[in-house]
Symmetry: C2
Subunit: 369 residues, 2 copies
Amino acid sequence: MNDSLGIVEAIKVTLEGSLELECGKTLKNLDVVYETYGDLNSDASNAILVCHALSGNHHAAGRYEGEKKFGWWDSLIGPGKAIDTNRFFVVCPNNIGGCHGSIGPSSRNIETGEFFGPDFPIITVKDWVKSQAMLSDYLGINQWHAVVGGSLGGMQALEWSRLFPKRIKKAGVIAAAPKLSAQNIAFNEVARQAIIKDPDFQGGRYLDKETYPKQGLRLARMIGHITYLSEEAMRSKFGRELKEEKLNFGFDAEFEIESYLRYQGDIFSESFDANTYLLMTKILDYFDPANEFNGNLSDAFREIEAQLLIVSFSTDWRFAPERSREIVNALIEAKKNVSYLEINSPHGHDSFLFANSDYVKGLTSFLEN
Amino acid sequence: MNDSLGIVEAIKVTLEGSLELECGKTLKNLDVVYETYGDLNSDASNAILVCHALSGNHHAAGRYEGEKKFGWWDSLIGPGKAIDTNRFFVVCPNNIGGCHGSIGPSSRNIETGEFFGPDFPIITVKDWVKSQAMLSDYLGINQWHAVVGGSLGGMQALEWSRLFPKRIKKAGVIAAAPKLSAQNIAFNEVARQAIIKDPDFQGGRYLDKETYPKQGLRLARMIGHITYLSEEAMRSKFGRELKEEKLNFGFDAEFEIESYLRYQGDIFSESFDANTYLLMTKILDYFDPANEFNGNLSDAFREIEAQLLIVSFSTDWRFAPERSREIVNALIEAKKNVSYLEINSPHGHDSFLFANSDYVKGLTSFLEN
């Protein structure tokens, strides 16, 4: 790919100070891993923070030495792309609580030398945004040109605009929702139960016990994938196609969709931490900015100064367009500067990962204006 | 309830003859448990066969001595109800492969004395209809006034009209689909994997090993329940209501929807056989009458002589109204006698269990005409 960033490297920093969490606990020695793409200009006014979603991490674009796979948003981040690294300095951290180098359940608590495991505190989107603000301080970025993310990443962008109105010029809130529906929570709960009830979960102390709840995590990911794809995408990608020509009257995978889900579950369960997965689903469930304002979302948006772009995708049924419109309507009611883009895309919730041309155009012009 | 059947009893019979299954195997000594409500008239022309769905059984109406719970379709079957036992003789069998008394994986194979377990053959909707025809012979019912069912039960009613055109006057196909979508199969596959990968499943030989894959079955049922309820029903029933007033920052059930799913999973996993659950999901996946006709559904319907009523429910997303319309359109193309009723109901797929007045009126007039 000509327009790719090429080889990138992750950076690790231990942030100074401590973070008071919403749950009442305090985290210190915040190890944070992040990547940057492009160059910060002299007045530090061209920085864009990219926030990742449930299973994402700091590796958003480019690729690592010796690896073929590109970062999860490589389609949108790079020279000449929607998030143009010729113009912008892009920062993408692995969120705290994650499992790719930032402090999280699979880290050792330096005070005890033990794995945090299930003792890692339950954090929230607000806590994440505060930890990202600590990273901003460290990087010398007083104000982000933009904070952008999809799904749970979009919730962080929205929360940034609420919590630090002076530190963010633009917020790109993509394929998100103002809070989870009962159905969203239900899917998360089944995923959690799959992990927690796996005998190898060991009450979350699997690292100490040298076991791993692989089957639970595999099931959780399979369930997740059903909600990431649209029915339409599943139909056109897999339909009822059989792996072999005839029904085999047994329980081996015989429809293509079965193989796909098993494969996705297998690879994920080998590379992701189960306690982090539990934590991420809980962070989603808890997100509800209107809650502190008696359920009034527009009141929750009162302090926002940023310009906002809300993007939704026609076939997304995890966070459907109507969920984005709830955000838009509340922003309009609060008299904020908001644009809304509803993109026709067949890829369901995963659409935010694809460089659909309308989506790219919208995002490009939003960031550059 | 004044209009209930009161106390009912199940009957068990061993059907003579053998059943050649679609998979090529043969089943003998077909134990079948069933219930009947109302009286068969002298020329056996008032009999209605009720077919159950995935987790259903022969106990469709009334209640057992000493029990409070009514059968799963008690809202529709009884004196003066939609399926009026003052006029009709209603028969509801537990399908073979089931786990409530009819021959199935948890029965002992009388030839070996061992539990069938995972050796029970994979059967199909067609096999079920043939086994039900054997029961009809035994009962002296040459032609059903109607065959009626919801969900997987509706698929049986449709298959009856195709396989035995002379033996069925009316088919009531409720909340069904002409075949499963990739997404439907995906949900079934996750449920299967939850059961199969439970260490207590023991390759399906849990009865021999005296274990039970309770956690797997519990997860399977939780996943199922998400697809039975509409998003709307979940929202109005549970919303984001918390069990206690505040977030507890832990993994106990805190949203009402979590408790509901856990409870449903728990009770189901104590009363249903895991091998039967696997089998039922496979029967759903395999159902595809058009398959033998190069995918042409209308050709698959060519031999039908019955009058058909197709019913769908507005908020059903498991088998949405458009899936019912596929059946209707193919029947119209095949020039069959078909009526279609799309009912506004908030209960999602489960709507077929509720006595919505439009639904009751439609079904009543269809059966009585």
